[in-house]
Amino acid sequence: MDLLSTIAFAFHVAITPENLLWCAVGVFLGSLVGVLPGVGPTSGIAMLLPITTLLPATSGIIMLAGIYYGSQYGGSTTSILVNIPGEFSSVTTCFDGYPLAKAGNAGQALAVAAIASFFAGTLGLVGLTFFVKPLAKLAFALGLPEYFLFYMLALTIVISLSGKSLVKGLVAACLGLLTTMVGLDNISGTARFSFGSMQLMGGLDFVAASIGLFAIGEVLINAEQGLNSVVVAKVRRIYPSLAENIRLIPTYLRSTLVGFFPGILPGIAPSVTSFMAYDLEKRVSKHPELFGKGVLEGVAAPEGANNACTSGGFIPLLAFGIPPSPALAVLLGAFMMYGLQPGPLMFQQRPDVVWGLIASMYLGNVMLLVLNLPLVRLWIKLLNIPYLILAPLIVVLSLIGAFSLRNNFFDLWTTLIFGLLGYIFKKLAIPIAPLVLCMILGDNLEALFRQSMVMSGGNMAVFIRSPLCIVLIVAIIVSLGLSIFQHNKSSKLTADRD
């Protein structure tokens, strides 16, 4: 079958009333899952796995997949409105999304988040449609040393996230790395920082910690200041203008690339790509100093990246049956419940499931855009609630979300203690973003380094073993150099101004 007739076949499968209905149900539930902090697509799909006993294969997979990419649309809502990151991939959206909301531009932020998600998600799907087989090989392009260098490249973002004081940013980053050491050591199995507690031996849950750092930290600071309302400025316009949308197109394109290709790599989570996209936008922007204060690019970039990442993630899943992320691993479970094994055989034996799924994702993205844009009006009304009522609601929502992650009471303590830490950081003007980035990267960073060293027998030359390694090292040096240069330039600017 040539490609055009495959595409026609795909949409023929997807545009049946049944499949359209279940696609709509899936993306709606996905949005809901994304909005609720804590409950992520992984647990969302897992909770609905029993649906596989009721629905035929195509409809069931379409619905469950809808939850996955739908959640990447909804995750930004609470990040923007109340600074609660629904999941890791929404953490970056808090940086500029929440300041935008405070300035009365929540509607624009929410709308841009939806549009960026649609644009990048759909473009990623195009990549999936036309290049699934060749791109799948990318999944094995990186070995352990290459992955380590990739994570190091992501680590250099810490500098641009540090804001005015590089030292404070590095302090936050180190603390972030320290938190990842709590638990069993990756290589020797020794318990570190466990203080005899079995819970600590299993490590901290970082989503719970992020919820605490952002949401609860913010509530504590605001309570101290006696804040009456989140919005401190008058709402100007709800939706972004056409001119603003056109201005954002290069951002949408860049975030697609940054999200899509790493999304194919097993082990690179949407959250990492959202940080990278944010950093890239800041570097190419004419006004990098505005990032963190509320620029639409700061919302568009991470939101686009995490949606492109989910599209990219389907490549190794469908081509080989290798899920690059935990949520897709559960989706793989759904395939198995239907007796299906994703891989080259499924392309041959059940093209209706594979291509029907891909076509349904285009439709799902359209549905999500149509669903989310009008909802923006409704969401921003939430901000009119007096803070006296909103603040406790935020705390309760955060704690419920934290508990729902693993049904583990210990995570509530994590959230509260990191909430206190977030408050202290804000008082001391220490940036939180580097801490969160290091929490996401730290575990893998250490493990990959040590696994590479075991593999090479202790020989550091393993990190220059391939052309890709060299490219990554050059990228790290360039990234470091540029970041430091940009940092010095902006601190000189502020010094000159003062």
Partner: protein, 336 residues
């Protein structure tokens, strides 16, 4: 007027309370049919994991057969201990049960000596499924049989890189057992490149595909994926019999390594003191699951094999595995 209202109210309260207590006493005195309300089956690992999938298979089957919902709840943390403790501390009425595996019993107690629980501190209800593991080798090595791999380890241990999965996991312990049975001493094994992937076995398999490690293990649902990449050969299945899904892959038994057989099992256990009718009900349900078309359908989906062992045999199996693991754990320095 007030006093008589008060009297009236307290009389009504007394009446209601006595009815309620009579009712529950009645319920307790006459053994109520089990199950008569939803059961919570706790899986201590993430959705999509092997434990979780086994739990879902069992839950789906039990729900169909009993007409009562069996809910799978994922309680994650502390490498499975959180969920285990939650069940052990629950009321032993049969409505909170654990779907467990060696990581929560035999392997756990073989490696950790300071736990707030004992290996026989729970009631073992029945073994439900097993999920055999396979030995993988990167095609770049040119190894065609297990013997090739073991010979390489024996002669050039410093160059032998193997993906050991997480500490005290089936992949790690199975490979060590294979090497021992194949005549490789612990000193030689310690000279090899044991690459540990604490977060789970998937990165271990990924490393085998890319060639960073030459030898690794995986489950049935990993076999198709690795074969599809064309970069991994499946050398053997570590079980007494060939599997239905891959009848062309020889067993370690056929290849002469029968003592290395270590098949991951999944079973149900509960807090100590479960009533007899609860244990009997589960055993009756699971006894015929393998030959029941409903059971077969459920298990085939998740590629699990019904392997029923009644309560006493199940406990014996766990204890046996525990005792066999202690020396390996000690030699590897895992026993703390």
């Amino acid at each position: 007027m007030n006093i008589s209202m008060k009297m009236k109210r307290s009389l009504i309260m007394c009446g209601v309370l006595s009815l309620v207590s009579l009712g529950s006493a009645y319920g307790a005195a006459h053994s109520v049919k089990y199950p008569n309300k939803p059961i919570t089956l706790i899986a201590s690992f993430a959705p999509g994991s092997a434990v979780d999938m086994s739990a879902r298979v069992v839950a789906a089957y039990a729900t169909k057969k009993w007409g009562v919902t069996v809910n799978v709840q994922n309680v994650i943390g502390a490498s499975g201990v959180t969920g285990t403790l939650q069940v052990l501390n629950a009321k032993p009425d049969g409505y909170t049960l654990l779907l467990e595996t060696a990581t929560q019993s035999s392997f756990l107690f073989a490696t950790q000596t300071n736990l707030p629980m004992k290996i026989d501190g729970r009631d073992y209800v029945a073994m439900v499924t097993t999920d055999p593991m396979y030995f993988f080798a990167n095609t770049g090595t040119g190894w065609k049989t297990l013997k090739d791999a073991i010979n390489f380890l024996q002669t050039k241990p410093e160059q032998f890189a193997w993906g050991a999965g997480a500490y005290s996991s089936y992949p790690m312990l199975s490979q060590v057992r294979l090497f021992n049975v194949g005549g490789v001493t612990m000193e030689t094994i310690k000279k090899s490149k044991m690459v540990v992937f604490q977060k789970g076995n998937a990165p271990s398999i990924q490393a085998c595909i890319t060639g960073d490690v030459q030898f690794a293990m995986g489950w049935t649902y990993d076999v198709s994926s690795v074969l599809a990449t064309g970069k991994v050969a499946v050398l053997a299945v570590n079980a007494p019999e060939r599997t239905k899904d891959f009848p062309n892959i020889p067993t370690t038994k056929e290849l002469g390594y029968a003592d290395a057989i270590l098949v991951p099992w999944y079973g149900i256990s509960g807090p100590k003191g479960l009533p007899n009718n609860v244990v009997k009900a589960w055993n009756n349900l699971l006894k015929d699951a393998a030959s029941d078309p409903v059971g077969q359908a459920e298990a085939a989906k998740a590629k699990k094999i019904w392997t029923y062992l009644p309560d006493a045999e199940f406990k014996a199996h766990v204890m046996n595995e525990y005792e066999k693991t202690i020396p390996i754990a000690t030699a590897l320095g895992l026993r703390k």
